[in-house]
């Protein structure tokens, strides 16, 4: 089983919003689509989901052209959508039925996920003085709880492919952890997850492979660990009591950021960094912390798409 996106091109008139996007998920896991606003992430996700048409290329699922209407797909959109005035239960049953589930199957899944996402009180309110209470409407819920209902809608049909567009945005730390645990569960179930997020630590936590888009073009793609390795350990962090700016200049390093007693430095290689450390020791610099590491995804992202890229 695999998901392949081959040479996807999307144009609006003369504007190309997606230019030959390629990626493949040979194994289940989480794939990240990254980019600044307007880079083409949501367009890519919409094309994969069959919401938008495309001009060139193809999307293959299990070697055949993917039709989102026929395979099990779940979607959590960037901007959440629920009918504000309709009952949550009615909406969830409707979404499930659109995924060809029966009402009984839907109810069973809703019960499971309501418990798992801790929203039972809104969907199965307890009786008050022996009277059955109405389940809530979407506009009676907080933003975070609405997000839970949305995730529930995406998971109800037990999808093989799960597309999550900014799944953790706007969540408090507790609910963020809850969502992460569900993503991990889905990974264990060997699902294919495509995630788009601006929270780089989250991407690093879950994704093995990434594509970074800039104005519809792929600027970086591949396995996240390999990408990081290819950059080498060039990020140095030094915390000390003395001023070491003269040493940094002498070694020809770039001072990226400086706060009192702390220096973030871009070095030219690991060997030079080791020499730099030796020099500091020789000069009796009182070192509190010395760290040499690969660049973070955040740093790679900023390097690749930084600048005047806001759309």
């Amino acid at each position: 089983m695999s998901l392949q996106v081959k040479n996807l091109v999307k144009k609006y008139g003369d504007t190309t919003v997606l230019n030959h996007l390629n990626f493949e998920m040979k194994e289940p896991g989480v794939y990240a689509l990254l980019g600044t606003n307007g880079a083409g992430k949501t367009t890519s996700l919409r094309i994969i989901l069959g919401m938008l048409s495309y001009d060139e290329g193809e999307v293959l699922w299990q070697g055949k052209p993917m039709n989102a209407l026929e395979c099990k797909v779940g979607y959590l959109a960037e901007e959440r959508g629920l009918y504000p005035k309709y009952s949550l239960m009615d909406q969830l049953i409707y979404f499930a039925k659109l995924k060809n589930m029966t009402k009984d199957q839907a109810m069973k899944e809703i019960k499971y996920w309501a418990e798992r996402l801790e929203v039972e009180e809104y969907l199965f309110p307890e009786k008050v003085k022996g009277k059955k209470q109405k389940n809530k409407n979407a506009d009676q819920l907080s933003k975070g709880n609405q997000q839970k209902i949305q995730l529930m809608a995406a998971l109800l049909s037990d999808p093989e492919i799960l597309v999550l567009d900014e799944p953790l945005s706007g969540l408090d730390p507790v609910n963020s952890d809850l969502f992460k645990s569900i993503i991990r569960e889905e990974m264990k179930k060997r699902k294919y997850l495509i995630m788009s997020s601006h929270q780089m630590p989250t991407i690093e936590e879950f994704c093995s492979d990434v594509t970074i888009l800039k104005r519809g073009n792929t600027v970086l793609q591949g396995n996240l660990n390999e990408i990081k390795k290819s950059y080498g350990r060039v990020n140095m962090f030094v915390k000390c009591e003395e001023d070491i700016r003269s040493y940094i200049d002498a070694f020809g390093f770039t001072l990226v950021k400086e706060t009192p007693g702390e220096y973030q430095i871009k070095v030219t290689g690991e060997e030079e960094a080791t020499k730099f450390l030796k020099k500091l020791v020789e000069e009796n610099i009182n070192l509190i912390r010395f760290e040499l590491r690969e660049p973070s995804l955040h740093e790679i992202f900023v390097e690749k798409v930084g600048g005047n890229d806001e759309a």
């Binding site: 999307k10 144009k11 609006y12 008139g13 919409r46 094309i47 994969i48 989901l49 069959g50 919401m51 938008l52 048409s53 495309y54 001009d55 193809e58 999307v59 052209p65 993917m66 039709n67 989102a68 209407l69 026929e70 797909v73 979607y75 959109a77 901007e79 959440r80 959508g81 629920l82 009918y83 504000p84 005035k85 309709y86 009615d90 409707y94 979404f95 039925k97 659109l98 995924k99 809608a153």
Partner: protein, 448 residues
């Protein structure tokens, strides 16, 4: 546009229908319409003074030289006056007036050079309403005429002969000396009034349904629910499901109003002891229908035009809804459909006015029968009353069908882009621009 794009419309229909009828706004508006209808007949009855009359005693004072003895009998035989005590009095005017009590009246008949005067006299606290007085006056005039002719020795046959209908016709001679009979008006006064009622009822029906569709789409678009829907069903299935749901909701509303109207009419009838309520000229027109025009084919074509017209406006409503992104702009979105509806109805009214003052349909008439925005208001009525030929109605159906197909084709091309569009309201030129763009392929479609 492929039929498989409609897959799943039943689920959209069921959900939209159920949620719409559960909605407070629909419940409240239906309730208001039903209540208005429920009170309409008793109110009309009260205003027109029909039903039981409050008059208990009627004095007839004949100050003419003619024999009006039969008046007493005729009053008692008049429907609604059976319980009225009639007294033929020759008492002094003033003393009789002083005797008048509540629910009593004097009819004083006198003769002048110019004719007869029927003076109605009631006491200050008579309790007889003005509308009832008008009704009594009409009845008395007719009773008086009847009694007078009989008193004069004119028999029934002679009266009938005098009252026989007089038909007039106008013939027009041209310069060559040929004489042609001028045609009768295409629509009678009653048909003209009935057309007004039917056209406005149709407009209300289409307007209500269109609003349901447009609002439903605006809600889904503004709340972003549409993104969840279109990964499971195609946009055309969503539109189709919604259109059918709104049609059913509106039919249900009208049915409820109809049931309430029947109940109200029956109750009014019972209260007025069998007397029927004078509803309107529109209903009177039904009585004038010649059965020969109501054939299965005319009924089928009439319904077809109505349904196609509904579908046509509903599709435009769906596009109007999809053209805007915020609920606050919904009135702006409905503007185009309101304009088209008004133009359509006015064309129909123009046709009716022309047809009322002439024997031919005329240019406006043909436009109102053939233009898709006007034909749903004109064709069904004109066909049922036999004022247009079946051929013209079939042409109207064909034009509506072609328009609907073209509109559906346009919708299938632009709807996807429209419902995912965010921001400013899409104008007609933006929509046409979208339609001109090359349509790409979608997931699951075979590469070409």
């Amino acid at each position: 546009m492929k039929l498989k794009e409609l897959k799943g419309w039943q689920k959209v229909f069921a959900f939209t229908f159920m949620q719409t009828i559960k909605g407070k706004s629909i419940l409240i508006s239906t309730l208001i319409m039903c209540l208005v209808t429920a009170f309409a007949f008793p109110l009309m009855q009260s205003l027109t003074g029909q039903g039981d009359i409050s008059l208990k005693k009627l004095y007839i004072q004949n100050e003419t030289s003619y024999n009006l003895d039969k008046m007493e009998e005729y009053v008692k035989n008049t429907e609604g006056f059976e319980k009225v005590k009639v007294v033929v009095s020759s008492e002094n005017q003033k003393s009789l007036e002083e005797k008048l009590k509540k629910n009593e009246m004097i009819i004083r008949i006198s003769q002048e050079q110019t004719g007869f005067i029927l003076k109605h006299i009631k006491s200050k606290d008579s309790g007889i309403k003005q509308v009832e007085l008008a009704n009594i006056s009409t009845q008395m005039s007719s009773i008086f005429t009847k009694a007078l002719t009989e008193g004069l020795g004119i028999d029934k046959e002679q009266v009938d002969y005098m009252n026989a209908p007089i038909e007039t016709s106008v013939e027009v001679a041209n310069k060559e000396g040929e004489v042609k009979q001028e045609q009768e008006d295409l629509l009678s006064e009653v048909e003209y009034n009935a057309f007004f009622a039917v056209a406005f009822a149709t407009m209300m029906f289409i307007m209500l349904s269109s609003e349901v569709i447009a609002n439903s789409i605006i809600t889904e678009k503004s709340t972003r629910v549409i993104e969840y829907l279109i990964i499971s069903v195609r946009p055309l299935a969503i539109i189709f499901g919604k259109i059918l749901a709104s049609l059913c909701v509106t039919c249900l509303q009208l049915l409820s109003v109809g049931v309430f109207a029947l109940i109200s009419k029956s109750v009014s009838s019972l209260l007025s002891k069998g007397e029927d309520v004078n509803v309107s000229n529109a209903l009177a027109a039904v009585g004038e229908l010649k059965e020969s025009f109501i054939t299965p084919s005319s009924v089928v074509i009439g319904i077809l035009v109505l349904l196609l017209g509904f579908l046509f406006f509903a599709t435009i409503a769906a596009m109007s809804g999809a053209s805007i992104s915020k609920v606050e702009e919904s009135a702006e979105g409905m503007k185009i459909i309101s304009i088209l509806l008004v133009i359509g109805v006015y064309l129909g009214l123009g046709m009716a006015m022309t047809a009322k003052s002439g024997g031919e349909l005329g240019m406006i008439g043909y436009l109102s029968c053939l233009l898709p925005i006007a034909s749903p208001f004109s064709v069904p009525f004109l066909l049922i009353v036999g004022k247009i030929k079946v051929g013209l109605a079939i042409a109207s159906v064909a034009i509506l069908l072609v328009s609907q197909l073209l509109l559906s084709f346009l919708v299938s091309n632009v709807y996807e882009g429209m419902i995912l569009h965010r921001g400013e309201r899409l104008k007609i030129k933006d929509i046409l621009g979208m339609a001109k763009q090359k349509k790409g392929k979608r997931g699951g479609e075979v590469n070409e």
